[in-house]
Symmetry: C2
Subunit: 768 residues, 2 copies
Amino acid sequence: MRRNVRPLACGLIPLLMTVAGGMNAAAASDKAASMLGFSDQAATAQRALEQRFDAELKADDQREWMRQMSSQPNHVGSPHDKANAEFMLAKFKEWGWDARIETFDVLYPTPKSHTLELVEPTRFTAALKEPPIDGDSTSSNTADALPPYNVYGADGDVTAELVYVNYGMPDDYKELARQGVEVKGKIVITRYGHGWRGLKPKLAFEHGAVGCLIYSDPQGDGYFAGDVYPKGGYRPADGVQRGSVLDMILYPGDPLTPGVGATAKAKRLALTDAVTILKIPVMPISYADAQPLLAALDGQVVPRDWRGALPLTYHIGPGPAKVHLKIESEWTRKPVYDVIAMMRGATTPDQWIVRGNHHDGWVFGAWDPLAGNVAMLAEAKAIGALVKQGWKPARSLVYASWDGEEPGLLGSTEWVEAHADELKRKAVLYVNSDTNSRGFLGVEGSHSWQRMINQVAADVRDPQTGVSVDQRLRAALQVDAFENPSPESQRVARLAANGSDLPIGGMGSGSDYSAFLQHVGIASLNIGYGGEDEQGGVYHSVYDSFDHYERFGDPGFAYGVALAQTGGRIMLRVANADVLPLRFGDFAETVAGYADEVHKLADAARERSDVLVQLIDSGAFKLATDPAKPLLPPAREDNVPYIDFAPLDNALVRLARSAKAYDGALAEIQTAGMNLSARQRADLNALLQGMEQALLDAKGLPGRPWFQHFIYAPGMTTGYGVKTLPSVRESIEDRNWDLASQGVIRTAGVLDAYSLRVERATLALNLK
Amino acid sequence: MRRNVRPLACGLIPLLMTVAGGMNAAAASDKAASMLGFSDQAATAQRALEQRFDAELKADDQREWMRQMSSQPNHVGSPHDKANAEFMLAKFKEWGWDARIETFDVLYPTPKSHTLELVEPTRFTAALKEPPIDGDSTSSNTADALPPYNVYGADGDVTAELVYVNYGMPDDYKELARQGVEVKGKIVITRYGHGWRGLKPKLAFEHGAVGCLIYSDPQGDGYFAGDVYPKGGYRPADGVQRGSVLDMILYPGDPLTPGVGATAKAKRLALTDAVTILKIPVMPISYADAQPLLAALDGQVVPRDWRGALPLTYHIGPGPAKVHLKIESEWTRKPVYDVIAMMRGATTPDQWIVRGNHHDGWVFGAWDPLAGNVAMLAEAKAIGALVKQGWKPARSLVYASWDGEEPGLLGSTEWVEAHADELKRKAVLYVNSDTNSRGFLGVEGSHSWQRMINQVAADVRDPQTGVSVDQRLRAALQVDAFENPSPESQRVARLAANGSDLPIGGMGSGSDYSAFLQHVGIASLNIGYGGEDEQGGVYHSVYDSFDHYERFGDPGFAYGVALAQTGGRIMLRVANADVLPLRFGDFAETVAGYADEVHKLADAARERSDVLVQLIDSGAFKLATDPAKPLLPPAREDNVPYIDFAPLDNALVRLARSAKAYDGALAEIQTAGMNLSARQRADLNALLQGMEQALLDAKGLPGRPWFQHFIYAPGMTTGYGVKTLPSVRESIEDRNWDLASQGVIRTAGVLDAYSLRVERATLALNLK
């Protein structure tokens, strides 16, 4: 569902590094010799196992599975969606897995009729259709497909003046206020990008708009970005980005069953009580349909960074363009089919490592999600083969292919809610993937697993260059820092150059890890390759097809194999490790960085407000503006008080100390051959299994109790993008100083609970 | 000719200023009470004179003069160009000035025939025409107009594959090398912007291209920038930017008479020896003509920041587009008519204050140059009226309306070359203007005059807000720093907030001050209002008309009056000052800032080269690039040695000390009532008159002896944009370390000569 996994290091980086290049000798030898959580002897055996695992991976398998699964529309409720679940069920069974389909019953509205017309000052009726394209064999096979739509928007029939609101994000409404433009009673047209699509109609509604159009400007993923399909991979004029507008930052999953599995007998909310369903109609459109609407707008010319790549002068409106928007949907429940397969652990069956990828697409879904799904299937097939050869994982492996991810993480969320207690007791780690393509490894997730994923990346070979995917990424990060210098890119380039572990990104939302990580506190990782592809152009459109993927995604499926090697290594290492491979120093250091950011955020807000008030009071805004195109002064801001960050700072000191003690003790024991008694090992692993749950606060984040993780959350005003230390950061951003102070205390609380658990693990480790 | 004068502060500025707003009390009272170079009593009289001067300024005069002068095409050689000179001659005489026309005889090629065709893979013939536009009355009056062309390009008839080279600047050719694309034997197409137009064909030739097209991408000044003419003021699809491509960074003026006035009897170079004439044909085209050519290109998609606003995917080529370009010109000499008017000084007639603006345009030239020219005429009329009332300037005033600025600063350069000795002996200051429109005061020039111009700006009222133009600019600088924070914008905002003088920009080239400042060392200022207009769209096109200017330039000519008030105050104050109003601390501080920049430039080059070599040697570029769209590594760079900056640093210490002593002594004497003996005053003013000439080195800058000023020069790779401390800065940029070291010594030499002269002035001031 989400467009891109970030590269392993959360951004790319630049110039003027002073550190010598190449991995330093100490780090390199450390890397070669050790495997976190394993004795040297066990590591050698593990690497041999991974070689056998790799030998079972066939690119052709992935190609054929993708061809088959993407041959028909496979959205929720489609015949082929069910067929795909049954196809995978049969495969898992054939490969020796204990597999079943779990079905949930979810609200899933589908379009009955759609209209969009310009009615003034001229008339134009939007096509709202994606025609077949030569050379794209499935694009004419759309009898079972749904038309382009935004699921979970409201039904409605509205006619109103149009206003262009850029990306429709909070800053855009601040700019509109300075321009003296209101959207109350209007229909807004917003372009895709710079924030999750669901926020666009939500914010429009909150500002009084009665309807919302979201279009794909060619600047984002059309001809401005590159040659359009079929010459290149980018969005053709009629391509539409479908997508969910469910208010997932309140809670994802079935809107009618928050917090519980949407089983047949679950208690359901009335439709009118489902707060995650939007209140105004919203429709996604192509740039061919958007152009006449935008051309009909007048009023002030938009600010420079609001302009797209259509050949016209962008105006804000309102009007004279007036549009008629009508949407009618069928508000019925549909089944979602999660395919769940288990391989029971030989020694610790009640510790689970869970791997997942969704299988539902918006139409054919070759890129999203099947590219990731077929790599995951390849892992399952190879593991099945190892088991048939007599190997067994020490812990249990669970592979899941989720349904209903696109409309709102439905399949994964309902499954997690239905199995929450068991998962809290048993799940060690959830490993997610989604789309996948040619390029660089991207990872985001729980930072206590950063060391492990760095070690895995050093052992996977990049198909195009022959070096490890770790080494290739380090090269790219250093080159990027050279070409695009910034403090952050240079910081990461220094890590890349000196052989330190590369940082992983924090998790927001937009794929199936949300319920695992943020609702029940299962440590999670999201992995995928990308960055050298042209997915953008067909994202969530009918052209996200097998033909497109083979040309522009991963020709030869070499990165499909790399993803399976990466995911498989994670699963096998975590399954077999003597001690679960966590390192807490990475987490402590990362959270300290987040704390530094929120300190600076408060300071910057204070300085900004002081200057703003001074400039308003001195009349500077009035003197500076062009009287022919006047901008009103920004809204006045109250003074920003100093916030007591001491509880957070103290908790971080304790966390750093606890983490250092544990990591040091584990390193010592590992070097000495990992001689732990069975009891000691069991106690230790039991403590480690649920470690991440210490970071939950059961009352949840302010205003959205479903989200309980106090370190990582999707942003209230970003949607997919992560907000770290969310109870503090978002309160500062909202200028709610009391809530920020409470957030400091609650965040310190979860960190102290985490430190306590780390300290107990250190005690378990040090028992003689 | 040049598009914009910069705002008084050389950039606009931003956020998080910690200094309290408003002018501090000390600075404010200082500002009100004193006038640099005047006793308090004389200052009071001077302000009264300025009030009388203002009373003579009529906006309607300017409107009528512009209407008359822009009624017909007025380029060099046109009947109306001569008629305008005669019109002004008559006016000056009517106003009581001693006026004459000085004629020079310059090489000025004009087009005989022009062809541009796409011949492969499809055919298209470029229109190369600017059709009439409804509501623009002169756009159909083009019988006497020249077609769009770039004067001083070569004749030629070439057919070759096309390559898109972005802005055609040095970095663009580095990018092409990384893409593996050569332009040898090709025709390049480049867009206007990011560097002076004349560099584009010059660099193309140096890289082996056989022809050059320059087009106006709508991103720069077409529909992307705003509504196009006639709805708004921006460039319509058929609008073309004409312009000179004379290699003015070698020397401006007549190509056949470098260094001497192009009088009838001057010795002339053979055409083939005129190095400032380009070697390949070059043609400016509209975006309507460019679009089919760009659409026919294939090959690699261009980097993101190479993309414009046309609705197509920009490709580099080469080919398959192939174009035929043919240009034939008439290579004859034409007359240029400089109108020169003098008002003899009553007490010191041999000290001249020179004021100039050109009168030739590309077609009708309402914006460029007539908006500035009519404001200058208004000053002359008002001064004439004061003289008729019995007033006389102490020093002589010279007003000049130059011809032939557009093709290459011809009229001003030839006049300066013809009168070089006299100017060096007599000229105190040259005050230039060019275009003018609604908005903010922009000033660039010699920094020893920064205090004077700041005092003038505080005394001119902004027509739209009623505050002084200084106060309005301070507000804008603070707001800009708030909205677009950067270290530089915040630095200037602090100055704006605390009442310090606002910095002026250094002078590059692109208007008639070049010969004054950079060839003979006459201190210069360039002034103009702007920033709230829509000139860009008609710059150098047939649509630069009276109708356009009245709608989008300066409706009501209120800023024409403001410019006359500004220019007039400068002229009157410098003419009447007891002591010429220079302050050397501003110059010393500014040059110290430039020196700091060149230090950092060398350090950054050193660090960059070290990292680059390391990344090349480690193979990082090869690993990082996308094998499907490979980028070659950048060219290897030699190590950067440490440069001995000590001579420069020592010279700056002396300069700062000398400046402080002089400024302090003058302030003391001024406070005490400016009691200087007549002899002392005469000696002092004689020293100050030629002060700027100390900054010349008679051998000139490396490779371009005509340019002798060692502090300010137009950049070899920027054209119009200034390079300060050019002999040092450009040598570092060229990685010529020996030349950089020599530049340090030569620059220190001129600064020492300047300091010596300042020290002599201090002695003269302190004589009891």
